[in-house]
Assembly symmetry: C2
Homo-oligomer: 236 residues x 2
């Protein structure tokens, strides 16, 4: 053991440009297969076939099936960090709640429609051990951001309450996302609006008396009654 110069990590593998290309190719293929069949049902042979390479080639770049999902999740998390940094970083203490929620939801939805794998891996079923850790990391990071936003909206609230509220918000979003992804066109837009309504109405009493908006006034502004169809100018 001590004769090994690197105590823990062993990456003496010098990747060539070709190898990096194969890795990207394999991850893309894995995303495709995971999306359609889920993680457990996806076979490594199917991933290799989808990528147009042999099983042996796949295992030259990934030690096992789990590592593929982990690497995929890792890359996804980095892209998500960027997207969610934009979405949640500026707390905007002056913008109305409805706008803030709407903008955040729109960005989340956009990310998930751009990367369908994310949903497949999150709602993935029996993720054996290690993957759950990798996604817990992402989930915790998300919760942290929502907590920060909530704390700035509701300064006088115990941390436990903020954490719980953050979990509820994320749960609402995830449930709504499932509904959004199973619909198309105007119906999808309608569900997006419903997510915003649910979140806004849920958070409205919490932010209470904010800068310039009375409660009743804003409550009446949140698309009264059942949302008719899609609000104008959402994604166009």
């Amino acid at each position: 053991m001590p004769d090994n110069p690197q105590t823990q990590k062993e990456q003496p593998r010098r990747r060539q440009a070709r190898g990096e290309r194969r890795i990207a190719q394999l991850l893309e293929a894995a995303a495709q297969v995971f999306c359609t069949t889920g993680y457990t049902a996806a076979s490594t042979n199917a991933i290799a076939r989808e990528a147009g390479v042999s099983p042996g080639t796949l295992y030259q770049f990934f030690p096992n099936k789990e590592a593929i999902a982990i690497e995929l999740g890792d890359r996804l998390m980095h892209e998500m960090r960027d997207a969610y940094g934009e979405a949640l970083a500026p707390v905007d203490p002056a913008t109305p709640l409805e706008e803030a929620v709407g903008a955040a939801v729109d960005r989340f939805i956009a990310f998930n429609t751009d990367h369908p794998v994310f949903f497949a891996l999150m709602h993935g079923p029996d993720m054996p051990g290690g993957i759950t850790d990798a996604h817990d990391q992402l989930h915790t990071s998300l919760i942290g951001r929502v907590e920060g936003l909530l704390a700035s909206l509701v300064p006088d609230a115990s941390p436990a309450d903020v954490t719980r509220t953050a979990h509820v918000c994320l749960g609402i979003y995830k449930a709504g996302l499932e509904l959004v992804l199973t619909h198309e066109g105007p119906e999808r837009a309608a569900y997006v609006q419903e997510i915003k309504n649910v979140l806004t109405r849920y958070l409205e009493p919490l932010v209470g008396d904010r800068i310039g908006q009375g409660r009743a006034g804003s409550a009446a502004r949140v698309t009264p009654g059942i949302t008719r169809t899609a609000p104008p100018g959402t994604s166009a």
Copy 2:
């Protein structure tokens, strides 16, 4: 084919009392295994072992693994129909929204904690084909009940809107259920209250001006601010 007296169903199997007992035993074992490992990861041998019988005995009562989950879902659906009939059948046009939602949520939660398998099978991942049909049936039935309740609350709403709202309500509940099941004691009770808050606040603007309750008044009554801890006398 025409020589068979029964055109479609073939159940010439005369079950003895022992057989019925075994079936119940096997379903109970299957519920246990599905709960802990999920559907796909659960092996029929493990189910048989849990039930204390041999694999061959299992296949004397179920043609395949899928049939076990379907039969389990069927029995669960019947119990659920009863429970949800109680919870949603009386629309109670006079009871305040908060109470109606609270009662419905409490019963749903009670059912799910009594039958953890249901959650495992619903959020089950890759349910091969037939099972999804069986659960779609249940899901549709549930949606129908929620639709009926909503239609009575919001008479002047298009069917499409009612359907969408029902889906949103069920989605909220399912998301909340996941949070509830992952917590214990007072924290769990707090999440239950949050589900009620979310649903009540979401539906409040829709039911609009009902019999005797002003909007602002009821809005203020929905546990103002972030819920502190557990409401008194929920499950004790």
